[in-house]
């Protein structure tokens, strides 16, 4: 079973790893990265600053009928129980962004540690770790998260843990693949010879050389984490079932879609733009890291 990176063309990486800062700078010269960054700033801005501009509280009843279309005092109408759609929308981005970011960071941290350790240790340890990753990959991510959340309840930390866990095997594979050639290089042998402790070799010597593929993988994992967390909320599994959250809003108001679309359309568009943004940024970084466009045009 091999891994593939759907947002990344499978060009072979360059022999000499590029400096991450240089990759980011090159990525920002690409149009798609710029559009992605602009969209990300827009949506993250709504998520972070939105609550300050919300005309009503997220759980305030307006005294209007539920599922009412746009009306004076309710810019985008009311939701399934008569709360203000616009206020809930402005309030509902923080949680999903926070959860997705935390799940991505968790998945990266564990996945990088496993991948580096496997690549460096080789042999039986490598085999056991990677077969373990295969077992996790034998479940679709959403099913894994569903079963984990059903077991221990959809608390805030459980969602982060479950979604983070689904990110681990893919990060571990990418890290291991990128680290394998680095492990054979002379500077690693030199560090071993002068007695540098193992964790310093892993994180101080090898990790800096595999950062470019990890930045690509990180943005990919963030994209999936957002979709997965919103999807879980849409299925009815969320840490905060009464709270304002884009995924929860879609779930609550989906049934009334034909009479009052705004309660669904606003959060769906926000999630769509957010995942598009992280996807475009990831693709931009991937292109910059592999030098695809640049190399080809220079040929």
């Amino acid at each position: 079973m091999s891994v593939y990176n759907p947002l990344v063309t499978n060009e072979p990486p360059l022999v000499q790893p590029k400096k991450p800062s240089g990759v980011l700078r090159n990525a920002l010269t690409l149009g798609r990265t710029r559009v992605g960054v602009a969209l990300l700033i827009l949506i993250a801005g709504i998520a972070v600053l939105g609550p300050l501009f919300a005309p009503h509280g997220p759980q305030e009843y307006l005294g209007l009928l539920p599922n009412k279309g746009p009306a004076p005092g309710a810019l985008f109408g009311t939701d399934h129980i008569g709360q203000d759609v616009w206020s809930r929308f402005l309030d509902g981005g923080r949680e999903i962004l926070l959860l997705a970011a935390a799940a991505t960071v968790l998945g990266l941290a564990i996945g990088i540690a496993i991948g580096l350790f496997a690549a460096y240790t080789k042999g039986a340890v490598d085999d056991v770790l990677m077969r373990g990753m295969d077992v996790i990959l034998a479940f679709p991510a959403i099913m894994l998260a569903l079963v984990a959340i059903a077991t221990l309840g959809p608390s805030f930390w459980m969602v982060i843990l479950a979604v983070g866990l689904t990110n681990v095997p893919r990060v571990a594979r990418v890290t291991r693949a990128a680290a394998q050639p680095i492990v054979e290089r002379d500077f690693v042998g030199a560090a071993e010879a002068i007695g540098v402790p193992r964790y310093k070799i892993l994180f101080g010597e090898i990790l800096p050389n595999v950062l470019s593929p990890l930045m690509v993988e990180g943005s990919l994992r963030l994209t999936y984490s957002i979709g997965l967390i919103a999807g879980l909320a849409f299925l009815g599994f969320t840490p905060n079932p009464n709270g304002a959250d884009w995924g929860v809003m879609i779930q609550e108001n989906y049934i009334a879609l034909s009479v009052q679309p705004w309660g669904v359309v606003l959060p769906v568009l926000a999630i769509a733009l957010l995942t598009m943004a992280t996807g475009m940024i990831g693709d931009g970084i991937a292109r910059a890291a592999a030098g695809i466009d640049r190399l080809r045009s220079a040929e």
């Binding site: 059903a150 299925l235 995942t275």
Partner: protein, 323 residues
């Protein structure tokens, strides 16, 4: 002593099948242990008002008072015989409960796959041939956007566009009456199928493009061109078959991905398949149904990955000789 005259490919297949069973065995342990934490099935059946005696009797009947390892062996042995236990919510055998749903989901995945695979191969190859031309650039951006969108977002947007709000031309839900199949409601199939096609096509198209580009730059395609073969022959006889190799892997992975994608997509369209069944089972803590569906989906995953590995080896001469 000479080695038996068996093609090494059989050894490879045997090893892969064996590994697949090992993975499935580990998966079954994970599923079994994970579902242990979901609460007491006896209490789930009898409710809060159950007396201690009736709880104890039911636990006895469900073998819940036996050691975990015995319970696991009973459960796994039952699965091997096609007996997945009784649903806690429906009080029916799980196999009867999910039989029709498996057919419904398989139908949806097969149509979605049947449309998206040729489509993505065509788009990917054409984009590679027209590299850096407007078609390629446009496809690169469109596939990038659709690859990033979560399936349920695509599904909900399609419902808003075609069913409830902008246009009113297609039904927003798929209605499958008992005894009928999804094929009896073709209009209701359009949006779920389209959602899955839009979710899968971008991935396969991108891989197909990359693999086609690599082949088009290879020495043997250069050679075929220098021999003066018409471009059409170069592409259909020399380039395309070789570019399909890596794509097999992706196609299998994406069929497997569809098996996961249906969980949310079926829920969007209220489609009566294993995806929405799994969602409901998790919601109702119906442990035997969760276990059966999780094993089913994971088994499909493992089988498809295995097929992809074998197919890739078979179509790639370089890998075949290395065995």
């Amino acid at each position: 002593m000479s080695a038996p005259a068996v093609s090494p490919i059989w050894g490879f297949i045997a090893r892969r099948v064996l590994l697949g069973f090992v993975v499935l065995f580990l998966v079954s342990i994970v599923v079994f242990l994970a579902t242990q934490g979901m609460g007491d099935p006896a209490r789930a059946i009898l409710g809060r008002t159950a007396t201690p005696e009736s709880l104890a009797a039911l636990r006895q009947q469900l073998h819940l008072n036996q050691p975990l390892i015995v319970q696991y062996i009973t459960w796994a042995g039952g699965l091997l015989h096609g007996d997945a236990g009784m649903s806690l919510a429906a009080q029916e055998p799980v196999s009867t409960l999910i039989k029709d749903k498996v057919v419904n989901s398989a139908f949806l995945v097969l149509i979605a796959g049947g449309i998206s695979i040729p489509l993505s191969i065509a788009i990917g190859s054409y984009a590679a041939l027209r590299r850096d031309k407007p078609f390629d650039v446009a496809m690169s951006l469109i596939t990038l956007v659709f690859a990033a969108l979560p399936e349920f977002v695509v599904g909900v947007l399609l419902v808003v566009l075609f069913a409830t709000t902008v246009l009113h031309v297609l039904p927003a839900v798929t209605i499958i009456p008992p005894g009928a199949g999804p094929w009896d409601d073709p209009a209701g199939l359009v949006l779920p199928t389209l959602t899955l096609v839009l979710a899968v096509t971008p991935y396969v198209a991108r891989i197909m493009r990359a693999s086609m580009i690599e082949v088009l730059e290879s020495d043997y395609v250069e050679m075929a061109r220098l021999k003066g073969l018409p471009e059409r022959v170069v592409i259909t006889r020399h380039a395309l078959p070789n570019a399909l190799g890596p794509t097999f892997q992706v196609i299998a992975l994406n069929l497997a991905y569809l098996a996961g994608g249906i969980i949310v997509v079926e829920y969007v369209f209220n489609y009566g398949g294993i995806g929405s069944a799994l969602r409901d089972a998790v919601y109702n803590h119906d442990i035997p149904v969760i276990q059966a569906l999780a094993m089913l989906i994971a088994g499909l995953y493992v089988a498809l990955n295995l097929l992809a590995d074998v197919a890739t080896i078979l179509v790639t001469p370089k890998l075949r000789t290395r065995l």
